[in-house]
Amino acid sequence: MADKIILVVVVNGAPTVVEANLNAPLRSIIGKALEQTSNTGQPEENWELRDGAGQILDLSVKIGSFGFPADTRLFLNLKAGVGG
């Protein structure tokens, strides 16, 4: 369990708990969070993940590198897309 962490991912405002592997890239939690909240209509690349301060997080970075405390809340929202 030492290489696992529990994160709370808030998907469009609705929280869900995700168990994440510290050695996996951050993008690995997106699919789980979307599946658990039944958000299956848009591909993963159409979502963006932010920390509590609103900063966009680099999805290619290992989860362990962020130093998240347990139960950290991350915010996953649909990108704006291209309007017109």
Partner: protein
Amino acid sequence: MADAPAATPAEPQYVDPDVSRRKFDREIADYRALERDYQQRGWFLVEANYPTVVVLLAAPHVSPSPVVTGVLFDYTNYDAQPPSVRLVNPFTREPYQANQLPTTLNRGIPHSMPGAPDGMQMLVQQPLMQWYAPTDIPFLCLAGVREYHNHPGHSGDSWELHRPTGAGALVRLLEVIHTYGVAPLAGWKVNFNPQVMFGWTEPPT
């Protein structure tokens, strides 16, 4: 304080009101559960009476911190219909006209430059707030917003395509408005307009 004005001309409630209200209540409950997090980002939910939500967006990273805009949501017929979204004066709650907007929610769209070396791109500003005349009430040109899907130019991008993704969720819409309308604020800018003119002595008698 008087009730908030309707976000768009009143629309009849044709969805079972209990269904829309339950979905509205879930949006508000989700928001309230994390309200402290949102307040730290400068979001203040000041009214939530079905079908209306009013949120004020401040900029805590700017000192002194301004209230940048109010946002008025109307969740009538949700989620058979997406919510109406208007930027409003935070004090009067009147929707801003285009020429009054404190922010037009500009986003940078990368465009390739003709004749430029490979990979060289320029950022073109595209406002998410759209209008025709300066006195129009502008609309948020974004999938998940009623005014966007009702616009004849977007008839090919139906709400039904976005409904299952939570595109009309309160927090998601606030995130977009915050990202393009509040987060880019770098600080206060003061403009001085010096004028040069003749300086006169007392007039001779």
